[in-house]
Amino acid sequence: TTRETQRRTKKKPDTTPAESSYSPHPFTDSSAHWSSRSCQIQTLYVSFRDLEWHDWIIAPNGYDAFYCSGECNFPLNAHMNATNHAIVQTLVHLMNPSQVPKPCCAPTKLSPISVLYFLDESNVILKKYKNMVVKSCGCH
């Protein structure tokens, strides 16, 4: 038992730097470390130029997509909206943390973008995407 404990103790420093340098994937890792902050809008710029799609997507060069991230803890920032349901859900969550989840940090206002791209070698399409840019976030 003592040897086992020593082995574990020795191994610990080796694993710590790797863990501390870990940065979660913004799309797939829901337990991202920045989500511990309160619900707010985060910057996500999608650059068609950096993706080397500019010979295909004529305009724009990219767009500010943004996304919502963070926890819905009250009181929220003054600018942050929360639905009545989110407030009630928070209270119920505090009473039953294991059964009732917290409200979700999600977009409250979205705006469109237009994208101009080649369909094939000659035909072109200009398409309006209605809910592409997050303008504000809130708790639902």
């Binding site: 305009a59 080649f118 000659s122 035909n123 309006k128």
Partner: protein, 239 residues
């Protein structure tokens, strides 16, 4: 890369994405935009992309004077969810025509999104400044099968062409509606030009400076543009 706020009003790159993560993000964006495949590289400088680029610029906030939209009603552009341009493929389907002086235009409309309502469609023809100052009537006909090997002509729209040149715009909403509803009925359009003093005598479109041939300036070749409104029913492509 993956950028995070460092807490003192500065954004720093935490780490670069791996190639597999980058591919995954690319696929996410493609899926979000509804683009299943990257098309082959397009020839630069053709007229249709330039027209839609002008439309795109008109949708941006700042008003611009350098846009060549030929007096188009901008409210119609703002109301459209999808605007598509179609380059003329006049080399396709050339057989079965008795008319020799007119020109036939054919457009591949198979990529028209399903479930979108067609608001309008325009045929845009460029007329170079003519050396012979004469007026003419440009008519566009829809080619329809009449059950025999010959094809019938159905008048769609006409426009007056003058010696000053520029873009001629003809309404071809009807033919596009029928081509989308019945793809096999797409036999193309027939372009006919008459002088006002000789209505029975048909002349070549090139005689009054209308650009038709493939070899000429790509930015002035004929194309069709169609305006669509979303029906609300979304079709998604599988990845």
């Amino acid at each position: 890369g993956l950028y995070v706020d460092n807490g003192v009003d500065r954004t720093e790159m935490a780490r670069a994405l791996t190639s597999s993560e980058r591919r995954e993000v690319e696929h996410e964006i493609l899926s979000l935009l509804g683009l299943p495949n990257r098309p082959p590289r397009a020839p630069p400088g053709s007229a249709a992309p330039q027209f839609l680029l002008d439309v795109y610029k008109s949708l941006l906030d700042a008003p611009r004077d350098d846009l060549n939209l030929s007096g188009r009603d901008l409210s119609a552009i703002n109301e459209s969810d999808v605007i598509m341009s179609f380059a003329s493929r006049s080399e396709a389907h050339q057989s079965g025509l008795r008319h020799e002086r007119g020109r036939r235009l054919w457009f591949d409309v198979s990529e028209v999104p399903i479930g979108e309502r067609i608001v309008s469609a325009e045929l845009r023809l460029f007329q170079s400044e003519s050396t012979t100052p004469q007026r003419a009537t440009v008519s566009v006909y829809q080619l329809v099968a009449d059950g025999t090997r010959e094809k019938a002509l159905m008048l769609v729209d006409s426009a007056a062409a003058g010696p000053t040149g520029g873009w001629l715009v003809l309404n071809v909403t009807g033919p596009l509606n029928s081509w989308v509803a019945f793809p096999d009925s797409n036999l193309g359009l027939y372009l006919s030009v008459h002088l006002p003093d000789k209505p029975a005598h048909e002349i070549h479109p090139e005689d009054i400076g209308i650009v038709i041939s493939k070899g000429s300036d790509a930015s002035r070749q004929p194309f069709m543009v169609a305006f669509f409104q979303s029906s609300g029913h979304r079709t998604t492509h599988s990845r």
